[in-house]
Amino acid sequence: MSTTAAATPTRTLAAGRPSRSRKQWLREIGPDAKLLLIGIPVAIWTLLPIYHLFLFAISPKQDAFSGQLFPTNPTLNNFRIVFGEKHYFLSHFWQQLTNSVVIALATGVITLVIATAAAFAISRLRVRGGRTVMNLALFTYFIPAAFLAVPMYKTMGAYGLLNSRWALIMAMVTIASPYAIWVLKQASDKLPLELDEAAIMDGASPLQLFRLVYIPLMLPSLVAIGIYAVLLAWNEYLFAFLLLSGDTQVTLPVALGNFLAADDSPWELLMATGLIYALPPAAIYYVFKRYMVGGLTAGAVKS
């Protein structure tokens, strides 16, 4: 952070005329200095837990436990142990990672299919009762997730789905789809109606309208919603730990939570695994940042 911060005054100086006096220069960076007073604490606050996680993950156990502030003996050994499943806490690392991937992708796909179909029916086909369905979805969105967890657990038990991937996938679809439908409906309300009329004049059927007009125009919102659902499922802890059990069934966050139960937890391995788990969402977020911020905040600002 400090390098980019330091770069700003020099840039301002270089951009100005060489005859610019010292006083003027100070006036130029004056407001920036005030901004830095906010920016530096914000950067420290944001990065502290993440830096600590990273520091732990690349340090041997004795260094990590000695309260070091900088990596004195950086090593990749923790990652070697994790990837090689060479600790009994991690003996199913790859299986659990696969579970996380499968569940996240399935949640993303199913949410997209259900929500896109519903938003199209409500917004473009103006199906009777569409407004009611929209309100039901919104209502679901406003149930605090932790309050739904226990009844969901009992329900999955009643359906005989406990300990199956489907339990978690369907729970996550249930939680993700209300917001997905809402955002997609807001986005599709903005599409000009003339497009539909033109397609109808050309004799398009509802399905053709959906496939040839609606989907291509909605693509940016669909990307945002797909990623939203994938990340929601990938990051989920509570429902995963309630609905799944058994070392080969659980997702990686649940396995990490199980570390806590033991007194002799290998914290450096826990942190290394955690860092590995945190990387994909961070990467996905940055690659699709443009879609995410626009797509997910658009609906909220309207109100």
């Binding site: 952070m1 944001t46 309260g67 199906v127 009992k154 679809v173 826990l270 969402p281 977020y285």
Partner: protein
């Protein structure tokens, strides 16, 4: 908003709309059916089941006698009051900070979003270890600087709850800042220029331009955040586990505790006790957002 309903426009376009209209309605129902199915199976049934489990008056009597429940209610109220107000105020201030056009602020905004983007469990566990009384970096620093042992941070109910609130703010601040930033950016620049011409101070610009345009959004965000904060299980559970001695539970973690103790009825009764707070919020937010 669009002025014409789609079926209506089909009516005016074609003189023989009847068969088409029904075909469109049939397709509409078919496409909406999957969500309705999910809603029935995984929302209506669980919610109904939950209320059915919570039907015994005895459960409520038992809850009221449980000191842990009383503690959890108080903790939840503190968590909501402090957590939400601090978070939303910070988000409002920071959204103003991020409107400044600087290259380094753009970089900072990219980093700033990380807490929201990454999963809770690694970062909360990282904080948890930082606060470890013997090996954590905080107490090692305290020892190095003062020669004394630092406090056992998470073993003090007040401090532990405070840290849980801090973790909650750390995690959700980026999201609300982004939302409020989007709100600020949608205010027309002309208003600020006009205010500048009239010689308004930055504070006056905030009072008379920014705040009036942001007020509705701010209130909606605060209420929405209230619902999500009520459902925040991770910040408390992963940091303190409800401990020490079950003194830092909130309603979200208490339900799971009763489930573990095989007292599902109590768990659901605890959730029902939160309904007088949740339902008005839901009603209000439905009115705001279902347009």
């Amino acid at each position: 908003m669009s002025s014409l309903a789609l079926s209506g426009s089909a009516d005016t376009l074609a003189p023989r709309p009847r068969p088409r209209l029904t075909a469109w309605q049939v397709w509409g129902l078919l496409l909406i059916a999957p969500y309705l199915l999910v809603f029935l199976l995984f929302v209506v049934y669980p919610v109904g089941y939950g209320f059915w489990l919570a039907r015994h008056p005895a459960s409520y009597a038992q809850l009221l006698e449980d000191p842990i429940f009383k503690g959890a209610v108080v903790n939840t109220l503190i968590f909501l009051l402090v957590g939400i107000n601090v978070k939303m105020l910070l988000a409002l201030l920071l959204s103003g900070f991020f409107t400044h056009q600087r290259r380094w602020i753009r970089w900072l905004s990219v980093l700033f979003i990380l807490p929201w983007a990454v999963p809770s469990i690694p970062t909360i566990l990282s904080v948890r270890f930082m606060l470890n009384p013997e090996w954590g970096v905080v107490n090692q620093l305290v020892f190095r600087l003062t020669g004394d042992d630092g406090p056992n941070w998470l073993n003090d109910p007040g401090l532990a709850l405070g840290f849980a609130i801090a973790v909650h703010i750390w995690k959700s601040l980026p999201f609300w800042t982004l939302i409020l930033l989007a709100g600020r950016l949608s205010i027309s620049n002309d208003l600020y220029e006009a205010a500048s011409v009239d010689g308004a101070s930055p504070l006056q610009k905030f009072m008379y331009v920014t705040w009036p345009s942001m007020r509705t959004l701010y209130v909606t965000c605060t209420l929405l955040s209230m619902i999500w904060t009520l459902g925040d299980f991770n910040s408390v559970y992963l940091l303190t586990g409800g401990g020490p001695a079950d003194l830092t539970h909130v309603l979200a973690t208490l339900g799971i505790r009763y489930l573990r103790l095989d007292q599902v009825d109590l768990s659901m009764a605890a959730v029902v006790c939160a309904m007088p707070l949740v339902l008005p919020l839901v009603w209000f937010l439905m009115g705001r957002l279902s347009k």
